[in-house]
């Protein structure tokens, strides 16, 4: 409790009032996290003292900027336990990381009729890149079904693997159901069946310790903005052997070794995939976010979120007229999506907002999952290291008021 007060004081926005006397209750961290001063200060400091373009510069600022940019990559690489910092490619976000694989690996190694296996619980980021690829080169998409209680159907998964997909791509943690998928086992099965594995880590890396070597995944994608870092930057982890065989994605400065009018030769990893002036200040902020997370400790963060989620789950479950999605017994990530009978999620969210409570309403970029459950939209509360039990109490109170108003 002391600890969480201290943590909250590191986040300037948590001092904000939405209206005079109405403090912000931020329960939308799955959409994007808030940022501690450490992260903001590191970026301001970068701009105020070191700002320069990187890699090709000889002068002091260029050297400092390059060092900061690469030091951040080193931190991120260590954070996810990559073998080498050359396996960490900066992207704009999770979405770009997945698109990079679809373009650079997919267009080189997939042929018409090849199967890419996805799941029904994917975020649009892990669906649409494959739709685009299918429409352009004729691959086939299959989906691991989601069971009624929000888990992946593992028996079906094993059957689908018999179709010999070339790639299995799925989320580590669902941003709607809270489900945490058994990545290690799924990767093992996939590899046994000869498939590569891409994992969408947007909702996992921010919340618990991830070891890409131990999980033995081939690609892993995540976003800084969901893990205390700035917008505009994310990362793709990829195994070196794979990244080396892939074709470049975007062309331009920095990703080349040599350019002539007639053609170019690509740069070494990781630069091969970083075209043009990158998000330098954002990389610095990303590195500081990792510093902050490491300092608090990923296990402590996970523990806190499990507790908050359990607390919220049990209170919400006991609210009449409220239906929760996802499996209750399973260890869940800190997101709870629910329906309030007879009241549209937009109305729920807007009424809660007038009490300062920020929740999300909609399909949360998982329309197919909502279609599966036969509802167009849900309300979602999501938690992070700075979420307090008292905020959950206010959410419950708020929901009761909404129900009364519509009653």
């Amino acid at each position: 409790m002391n600890e969480i007060t201290r943590i909250r004081s590191d986040f300037p926005i948590l001092q904000r009032e939405i209206k005079p006397g109405v403090p912000l209750i931020y329960l939308d961290s799955a959409a994007t996290s808030q940022k501690p001063s450490l992260v903001l200060d590191s970026m301001s400091e970068y701009y105020a003292r070191h700002n320069a373009n990187i890699h090709r510069g000889v002068h002091t600022l260029a050297e400092e900027a390059t060092e900061l940019y690469e030091a951040a990559r080193g931190k991120i690489s260590k954070f996810i336990h990559a073998r080498s910092h050359t396996e960490v490619i900066y992207t704009r976000n999770t979405t770009e990381a997945i698109n990079l694989v679809a373009y650079s690996w997919g267009r080189k190694f997939l042929k018409p009729g090849d199967i890419v296996l996805l799941t029904e619980m994917e975020h649009h980021s892990n669906l649409v890149p494959w739709h685009i690829l299918r429409d352009s080169i004729g691959i086939e998409l299959k989906f691991i079904p989601v069971t009624a209680d929000g888990l992946l159907d593992m028996a079906e998964y094993e059957k689908l693997l018999q179709l010999e997909p070339k790639l299995v791509s799925f989320t580590h943690a669902s941003n709607v159901l809270g489900t945490i998928n058994p990545v290690q086992e799924m990767a093992r099965s996939a590899h046994r069946a000869g498939a590569l594995v891409l994992v969408d880590g947007a909702q996992s890396v921010p919340h618990f310790s991830v070891d890409v070597q131990q999980l033995d995944v081939d690609f892993y994608a995540f976003s800084a903005h969901k893990m205390l870092g700035p917008t505009g930057i994310g990362a793709l982890y990829g195994k070196r052997e794979l990244l080396e065989k892939m074709q470049p994605f975007m062309g331009g400065g920095d990703m080349i070794r040599e350019v002539r009018l007639e053609g170019f030769t690509a740069n070494e990893l990781p630069y091969k995939f970083e075209a043009g002036t990158p998000a330098i200040a954002e990389a610095v902020g990303f590195g500081s976010a990792v510093d902050y997370l490491t300092q608090i400790g990923m296990d402590a963060i996970h523990q806190h979120e499990l507790e908050i989620t359990k607390y919220a789950y049990s209170l919400l479950m006991n609210l009449p007229g409220v239906t929760l999605f996802g499996h209750e017994k399973q260890k869940r990530g800190g997101v709870i999506a629910f329906e309030v009978a007879g009241i549209h999620p937009h109305d729920v969210a807007q009424l809660l907002d007038s009490d300062g409570i920020a929740v999300r309403a909609g399909h949360h970029c998982a329309m197919p999952l909502h279609q599966k459950f036969g509802i167009p939209a849900t309300t979602r509360a999501s938690f992070y290291m700075y979420t307090e039990k008292s905020e959950i109490d206010k959410l419950i109170l708020g929901l009761k008021k909404v129900q009364k108003l519509f009653g």
Partner: protein, 133 residues
């Protein structure tokens, strides 16, 4: 909490005056807002002089989209179709009388979009850009 939801909105949502379908109607149009799953259909009956004599909406959606549809239809009975074509965002905002952020504005404007599409005689499925501003 309820300052944004004037009683009138809740009232129109719970007890709409124009909910239903007209069979047969002179003009019908439907559309949806995929972002929130709202779906709205509007049926109109028009007299010889081109004036709206009857109107009804059906579908599902949030209180804002449903209430604004109900208020909107209430405001157009007896009016010539041509007048409907001139209606815009501000007319809706005046009707519902609360401030709306960009996301909720789309909910409120769905009914206007469907109504104007009907008024312009746009065919279902045709892609036409309507000016609502």
């Amino acid at each position: 909490m309820d300052d944004m939801y004037r009683e009138a909105i809740i009232e129109h949502y719970k007890n709409p005056g124009y909910h239903g379908v007209l069979e047969p109607a002179d003009i019908s149009f439907e559309d949806n807002n995929p972002l929130c799953g709202d779906h709205l259909r509007i049926d109109l009956r028009i007299d010889a002089g081109g004036c709206i004599t009857e109107a009804a909406f059906s579908g599902h959606g949030c209180a804002i989209s449903q209430a604004s549809a109900d208020m909107l239809l209430g405001s157009i009975i007896g009016k010539p179709l041509d007048e409907v074509k001139k209606m815009n965002k501000q007319d809706i905002l005046d009707l519902i009388g609360i401030e709306l952020g960009p996301v909720r504005l789309k909910c409120a404007l769905l009914s206007l979009k469907v109504l104007k599409s009907a008024a312009y005689g746009i065919h279902q499925g045709e892609s036409v850009e309507l000016d609502l501003d």
